[in-house]
């Protein structure tokens, strides 16, 4: 099967390759979407935990100061 004939695929090359191209686009797209979603979630959670930690620290400071004052 020469390379040229391989791409020609008996005149129907266009349809075969477009369908395989669509196939690869969909599969790779699925994979990238999952990766992208994971990074977004992790970034979001990290920000939230940092936020939460700072709020807890503030509380512990205020309770600490109130105990001292009380």
């Amino acid at each position: 099967m020469t390379m040229q004939e391989f791409f020609h695929m008996g005149g129907h090359g266009f349809y075969i390759w477009t369908s395989y191209a669509v196939g690869t686009v969909v599969f790779i797209g699925l994979f990238l979407m999952v990766k992208f979603q994971r990074d977004k979630i992790i970034k979001q959670l990290r920000r939230r935990y940092r936020q939460q930690k700072s709020v807890n620290e503030q509380n512990s400071k205020t309770t600490a100061s109130s105990n001292k004052a009380g």
Binding site: R48, Y49, Q51, Q52
Partner: protein, 226 residues
């Protein structure tokens, strides 16, 4: 509306207890979650006949969610709420929600006539008596959309008089009621409790009953859940 002390005692003896005195509802470490945020956890309380419990807590503490989950509208995430077996004569607890549950295009009479209470429909005489009691006799045949919010609330409350239920669950029953409406409702709650019924209610306005209601504090379990 407020009967003197003397009359109150004999009222109790003569009037045979309508409901057999027992604990109607036992709640063991109940927890409700609203999309990953715990409204409250490990709530324990009992509702015995003859008791009035007022659920207090600031907005968003889950007062309405508690009432709705007790009567099965909202699945609770943890714990258990067990209702005592209700025999034939009585019926399921009557739940009056935030909304008055009155159809604007039906008349006052039709609103009460067509709404089943515990599986059957009230008789004509019961409805008329309830409407008289709620001082809406004049509006018997006017469509509910012409009534004011307070009057619509009274139509909703008229259902309390029809229902043969040992337990009332009232969510903000006093909203949009005028002064003597509140008095009337307080009197009704008090009589109902005296007759052995139990009431679980939430209210923003302060309620002054002869016997002050037990307070059920809903502290926000987790203040800073993310």
């Amino acid at each position: 509306m407020k009967n003197e002390n003397g009359d109150e005692n004999n009222n109790q003896q003569t009037d045979s207890q309508r409901f057999v005195p027992r604990t109607i509802l036992t709640v063991t470490n109940l927890g409700i979650r609203r999309s990953e945020r715990w409204l409250f956890r490990d709530l324990n309380f009992e509702l015995k006949s003859g008791e009035v419990i007022q659920v207090v807590g600031e907005n968003g503490a889950g007062k309405t969610s508690l009432l709705r989950s007790l009567c099965g509208l909202l699945p609770y995430a943890r714990g258990e709420a067990k209702w005592a077996e209700i025999d034939e004569s009585e019926c399921l607890p009557l739940f009056l929600g935030h909304l008055p549950a009155v159809k604007p295009e039906l008349t006052v009479f039709e609103n009460l006539k067509f709404h089943p209470i515990a599986g059957e429909f009230a008789t004509e005489s019961q409805i008329e008596a309830a409407i008289e009691e709620v001082q809406l006799g004049f509006y018997l045949d006017t469509q509910a959309r012409y009534l004011s919010a307070g009057q619509v609330r009274r139509v909703g409350l008229a259902r309390l008089l029809i229902a043969q239920t040992p337990c009332w669950i009232l969510d903000e029953p006093f909203t949009s009621l005028d002064v003597d409406g509140c008095h009337w409702l307080e009197g009704k709650i008090d009589d109902f409790a005296k007759n052995g019924g139990c009431v679980l209610l939430t209210s923003h306005q302060s309620i002054h009953l002869p016997t002050p209601p037990k307070l059920l504090e809903l502290s926000n379990a987790e203040q800073f859940t993310c």
